[in-house]
């Protein structure tokens, strides 16, 4: 059986104890400290945000530089060789036929001579070959001195005379002994190279 008087006393005691249980006062300036802490947090966040923003931009710039470098270097490497040939190929000027005979052999030699190189690649050879190749085939070359003389002779000489001169002279009739002496040994005669074609 609970004594009502005792229960009332216990209630009063408990109420008095609970009344001051959370009646604590903070140290002066709690609001200021809280606001200062919030400002600090805000500044910290703003600084962090700026740094994050900066790093994003730096990363973007670095990525752009890398992409540009890759594109530039890749463009040099990947360029097809046909493009180079097309670029270097120009309408070849018609070689002029110069009257001076001394220049002609030089030009012919230059045209047909293959230029030596240390380690020519296939692409370089193709480019050079295209560059040196004349536009007209067979290659026109200037006439030599003898050819010019022959042409002037043919032009000025009558046709009958030309036909008459084309027949060889009949050999003179001699004895058998003299015949062997008269005919020289052709094998020892040095033959000259003809300049004519």
């Amino acid at each position: 059986m609970i004594d009502p008087e005792n229960d009332r006393k216990m209630d009063e005691m408990l109420d008095s104890m609970l009344a001051n249980y959370s009646a604590a006062e903070p140290r002066p300036g709690l609001e200021t400290r809280i606001l200062a802490n919030l400002r600090e947090a805000e500044e910290k966040k703003a600084t962090q945000g700026w740094w994050n923003f900066k790093w994003i931009w730096a990363g973007a710039v670095a990525a752009a530089i890398i992409v540009a470098a890759v594109l530039i270097s890749g463009g040099h490497r990947v360029a097809p060789p046909t493009n180079v040939i097309v670029k270097t190929r120009q309408p070849a000027p018609q070689p002029e036929i110069q009257p001076h005979a001394a220049i002609a052999p030089k030009q012919v030699g230059k045209i047909h001579r293959r230029e030596p190189s240390a380690a020519p690649t296939t692409q370089q050879n193709a480019t050079l070959a295209l560059r040196d190749r004349p536009a007209v085939f067979p290659t026109p070359t200037p006439l030599s001195e003898q050819e010019k003389l022959l042409l002037s002779y043919v032009a000025s000489t009558p046709r009958e005379e030309m036909i008459a001169q084309s027949h060889p002279d009949e050999p003179p009739v001699v004895g058998e002994q003299d015949q062997t002496e008269a005919i020289p040994d052709l094998t020892h005669i040095p033959q000259k190279l003809s300049n004519t074609r």
Binding site: M17, S22, A24, P26
Partner: protein, 194 residues
């Protein structure tokens, strides 16, 4: 002084610009309540202030949603309550009746204390005794009782903070008081026998 001037300036500025509560107005209006809620759970001035700081930091992180808050007081009280409970769990500073002085010793010192000279000491010992008795209660009863000791909160607000019906708050408070009285009666009986 300078802090109060800054605070007043910020409050006026916020009142002029917005009708919705700002973090600054919440600090100005409810920092005492937040501190008391924290103190009722942590029983330490330093820890309570740390919890109050952390509570307002949490509010500041969600300041964009302040306009959606219907009852700023109970919303803030709930944040303070959960923050303090988290802090108490992490610090493992839960006191028990076996720590330090026993309940009987506290009861003796409480009755022997002279009101004039040792009033402050007696009050402190009384609070220590009550703190230990509350710590011996089931967790749901202890938490409800702790929140009820905060003057700024009524039973309806406690119910909203704890997300339970108001009737449950009253029931828990009744059971908590009953158990505390039984424990106090036991302590008084032990003292009589000694």
């Amino acid at each position: 002084m300078a802090g109060k001037a800054i605070l007043g300036e910020m409050v006026l500025k916020s009142l002029a610009t917005e009708a919705a509560p700002t973090v600054e107005t919440l600090v100005a209006d409810h920092s005492q309540m937040v501190f008391r809620i924290a103190y009722s759970i942590l029983r330490n001035h330093h820890d309570a202030e740390d919890a109050a700081q952390e509570c307002f930091l949490r509010v500041w992180k969600h300041k964009d949603r302040l306009q959606d808050v219907q009852n700023a007081k109970t919303w803030l009280a709930r944040i303070a309550w959960t923050t303090s409970l988290d802090k108490r769990r992490s610090s493992h500073k839960i006191l028990s009746l076996n720590d330090g002085e026993s309940g009987t010793e506290l009861m003796e010192s409480l009755s022997d204390a002279r009101p004039a000279a040792d009033e402050q000491l007696a009050e402190r010992q009384k609070q220590q005794l009550l703190q230990r008795l509350i710590a011996g209660l089931p967790e749901d009863l202890a938490q409800t009782l702790e929140l009820s000791t905060v003057q700024e909160l009524n039973s309806a607000e406690i119910a909203e903070v704890m997300k339970i019906p108001e009737g449950s708050v009253r029931t828990r408070l009744f059971r908590a008081r009953k158990q505390l009285k039984e424990k106090l009666a036991v302590l008084l009986e032990e003292k009589k026998h000694d």
